[in-house]
């Protein structure tokens, strides 16, 4: 399959690979997808006291597009507020990486991962 240079760059040099402590109060963890479908994304955000995402990490089991999509969103969410992060649309991810049509689901999964990570963080802080 022919992939764009941007996608290949994210695949070959993935940004922000790793993990934060799930138990940390400032960390929100989102895991989406299923092994049966061939992709699982784990996205973690670290949120400071002003409610800004100051760091993000990911691990992804999946095809090249899935790895690139999740690598890209770790870059995009950094410096954003939770609401700004939630506003990231899968179509923007797909466009940035020039995902082929059969790989659009990877960008949807990446958007879902952001939503799941934010939801986890909010749940930890719900009073």
């Amino acid at each position: 399959m022919a992939y764009s240079d941007k996608l290949m760059d994210h695949y070959e040099n993935p940004r922000n690979v790793g993990a934060f402590d799930k138990g940390d109060e400032s960390v929100g963890t989102g895991m989406v997808g299923a092994p049966a479908c061939g992709d699982v994304m784990k996205l973690q955000i670290k949120v400071n006291e002003e409610g800004v995402i100051e760091d993000a990490k990911f691990k992804t089991y999946g095809c090249g597009s899935a790895i690139a999509s999740s690598s890209l969103v770790t870059e995009w969410v950094k410096g954003k507020s939770l609401d700004e992060a939630l506003a990231i649309k899968n179509t923007e991810i797909a466009e940035e990486l020039a995902l082929p049509p059969v790989k659009i689901h990877c960008s949807i999964l990446a958007e879902d991962a952001i939503k799941a990570a934010v939801a986890d963080y909010k749940q930890k802080h719900a009073k």
């Binding site: 049966a36 061939g38 992709d39 089991y61 095809c63 059969v102 689901h105």
Partner: protein, 405 residues
């Protein structure tokens, strides 16, 4: 600047290069000896006809049958279509039940689906965990109205060798016709049609160092097997398959099969040693699983699942190797390999499989390069894998409720 080089070819089960010795004998039949083998009135035709008959004898000799039992086709897919549709349609007054297995090539499975549309009933047998069909299951599936069974000799994905001799005995005892797709078997396993109770057998040239676009169907004469032709025209090939014979292709297939007969023993020993070297190297990696039986298997094939790594990303990571993935992310559908699923492999393992197929031009250096590359890239992809992380933490992935999407 990176040096431009071809990836190492480890996909001989997809196709093989034409052996240079084969290509050489084909060329004169394109430019000089271009006659139509069906032309009876001049030497151009006679020369072409003689070449076709010599090639037929070479193909017959590899599988120990009478050359009169060999019919040329465009390849194994056409041979499978002609055998299954031709026999089912000819013998339909005797019964409407057919038997095959779930791990057949699509050329058999899709033909069976078409026959179901035509009113036949098909039993698709499950295979055992090692990829082999159970003789007990097979015998139990035979019914009084069964007219035809089709089981491949060597599986294209996992390389396992089905018990054709025993299956043939079961069929013959009940008067059921037995078709065998041997596209992946020629030059890899001994085939003796004098001994095997096989009625129809499909062959392909391009899996055995011959050209693409040519194949053959063996049609037994004693006891005689009849087929309804699927291609009508000039009555070539005794009416079984009309169409002007492609002399150069046929000469290529004949030569390729002659070389296979002469060199098979030595070649299998060499390739087996390379395969063992590859498997020994891969076993240095954790969580690596072999798919299919190791004993009942051609030496050319190694199908391996790398747990917690997804197949397509692995193929991308090892782009210096030309291999196939059982994960269909690489093809149009997003389903994992139906063959691996039929072995009972779970989704993760089915998604993480790679088929290595070794051949005539593979070297020890190729294998050593492949092992080194895989050791390195598997490590890198597992660093990226949340499943690997969970496995390292001792979490059983089967206990997780995944949100399917």
């Amino acid at each position: 600047m990176s040096e431009l080089k071809h990836p190492i070819y480890l996909d001989y089960s997809a196709t093989t290069p034409v052996d240079p010795r084969v290509a050489e004998v084909m060329i004169p039949y394109l430019t000089e000896q271009f006659g139509n083998p069906a032309s009876r009135s001049h030497s151009y035709g006679w020369v072409a006809e003689e070449a076709v008959e010599n090639a037929r004898a070479d193909v017959a000799q590899l599988v120990n049958c009478d050359p009169k039992e060999i019919v040329w086709t465009s390849g194994a897919t056409e041979s499978n279509n002609l055998a299954l549709k031709g026999a089912a349609q000819f013998y339909k007054s005797k019964g409407k039940h057919l038997i095959t297995q779930r791990t057949e090539h699509k050329a058999v499975l899709d033909t069976m689906r078409e026959l179901e549309r035509q009113g036949f009933e098909v039993t698709y047998l499950d295979v055992q965990e090692n990829g082999l069909v159970s003789l007990v299951d097979f015998e139990a599936a035979l019914r009084p109205d069964t007219i035809l069974a089709s089981i491949m000799m060597v599986n294209n994905e996992i390389g396992v060798i089905q018990p054709i001799a025993e299956l043939g005995e079961l069929c013959r005892a009940r008067g059921v016709l037995f078709h065998v797709d041997a596209a992946q078997a020629t030059g890899k396993v001994e085939i003796d049609l004098d001994k095997l109770k096989v009625d129809l057998m499909s062959f392909s040239a391009h899996k055995t160092y011959g050209p693409k676009g040519i194949g053959a169907l063996y049609i037994r004469r004693k006891p005689r097997v009849r087929l309804e032709a699927q291609m009508h025209g000039g009555g070539h090939e005794r009416g079984f398959r009309s169409g002007t014979l492609a002399t150069h292709q046929i000469v290529g297939m004949g030569t390729a099969f002659r070389i296979a007969r002469e060199e098979m023993a030595a070649e299998n020993a060499r390739i087996g040693a390379l395969r063992d070297r590859l498997w020994a190297g891969l076993q240095s990696i954790e969580e690596v699983y072999l798919n299919g039986d190791m004993e009942q298997r051609v030496p050319h094939n190694l199908n391996v699942s790398f747990n917690f790594v997804e197949g397509e990303s692995l193929i991308m990571a090892i782009k210096d190797l030309a291999v196939s993935s059982g994960s269909a992310c690489t093809s149009a559908s997003l389903e994992p390999s139906y063959v691996l699923r039929a072995l009972g492999r779970n989704d993760e393992l089915a998604h993480s499989s790679i088929r290595f197929s070794i051949g005539r031009f593979t070297t020890e250096q190729d294998i050593d390069f492949a092992v080194k590359l895989l050791q390195q890239k598997i490590g890198k992809l597992r660093e990226l894998s949340p499943l690997w992380e969970m496995f390292q933490e001792g979490i059983d992935l089967n206990t997780i409720e995944w949100a399917a999407h």
